[in-house]
Symmetry: C2
Subunit: 214 residues, 2 copies
């Protein structure tokens, strides 16, 4: 089972590493990290670097494709080479997935037309640009495309995928293995639950950042 | 505010990257990733590589030190150089922290004597080896040492730290920014909640793995 992560400069590290920690431990999983050029990738997480061992041209098939998001102007939505690769890999997948604004890359590749999809809450209104129907859920499935909401939602998506790719027992064991029994100090992780002033301040900041990337 | 992550071969990627995604976005934070030798670090997450820009000898102070855990034999508990560095940095910190079995490194450095601490649920009984008092909580604070339970607990710990290092409003904004409104498909993330057969199978597998690292 070939699980392929698209890496790119400017990606948000946790978007990829959250689901990576789960999916890479699936029985029979073989994981590839792929970027336009193989080598060091600068995430938008304080310059943290991760490595992509493969270039796009090295990978022509995936059972699962996962595309992380990014908060700034360096997303890959404008790279024809990346979009063509995403489109072509999608033809070979069982599941094509994204986390956070990674769904905007799927959209730019033309894969979300008339499909229900999600993204980071502050970017939801951008989905119709690509013909997608925005859905304000944490994990959204339409056909073989699964999109997750912002950053940490990739962990929930990966567990959902683990059920499909393996079994509920395997998914539960993976969840227990990473002791995913969440207990944040506040219950403010969605705009519905957070203080409206915090939501608006963050929306304005993130919207300005996303603007640069479209 | 200098936030220092210890990286090492064999570390579990999400142990570090979960809290990293939050702490690196704290106002005024300057993040350093440090390893015995600067360069590529092979995590135990399907060979995913991350980069440590600094060697131990480059860093002599931290406001926050964070030590991730590892599932296998390559933890740093036996490296006198690492343990001496951890001990010395601890003298300079406001907070010394660990995720998952990272607390066993704190223990091996002699920093947990008679302190309450936690670790991955399957490694809790190892804490007394280092004179620590094991506590089965998700985030445990004793003096300036904060230890988190397995892997994903680092995210909750980082939000707790964000309250202390900045403010509840900043912590809430960071939580909303990563849309941390967890909703896993099952509620089985702790041994108390999971199917006992799954707990025992995983405990046996992890115990065998941890054995190698002590």
């Amino acid at each position: 089972m070939q699980i392929v992560f698209l890496f790119y400069d400017g990606m948000t590290a946790l978007d990829a590493i959250g689901p990576h920690e789960i999916l890479c431990r699936l029985p029979g999983a073989s994981v590839k990290r792929v970027a336009r050029k193989a080598g060091s990738i600068h995430t938008d997480s304080a310059g943290l670097m991760v490595t992509a061992e493969y270039a796009l041209s090295d990978v022509s098939h995936a059972d699962v494709l996962l595309i992380p998001g990014a908060g700034n102007a360096t997303t890959q939505q404008a790279h024809p080479e990346v979009l063509a690769w995403v489109k072509s890999i999608h033809q070979t997948t069982t599941w094509t997935t994204s986390v956070c604004t990674g769904s905007l890359i799927l959209g730019a590749a033309g894969l979300l037309k008339n499909l229900r999809a999600t993204t980071h809450w502050a970017a939801l209104e951008r989905l119709p640009t690509w013909g997608a129907i925005p859905v304000n859920d944490r994990v959204v499935e339409d056909g073989k495309i699964i999109t997750a909401a912002g950053v940490s939602a990739g962990i929930d998506m990966a567990l959902t995928l683990a059920i499909r790719l393996a079994s509920p027992v395997v998914a539960q064991s993976l969840q227990l293995g990473i002791e995913y029994d969440p207990n944040p100090p506040f219950d403010v992780g969605s705009p519905k639950k957070a203080n409206p002033a915090i939501v608006e301040a963050l929306r304005n900041r993130l919207t300005a950042s996303f603007e640069k990337s479209i």
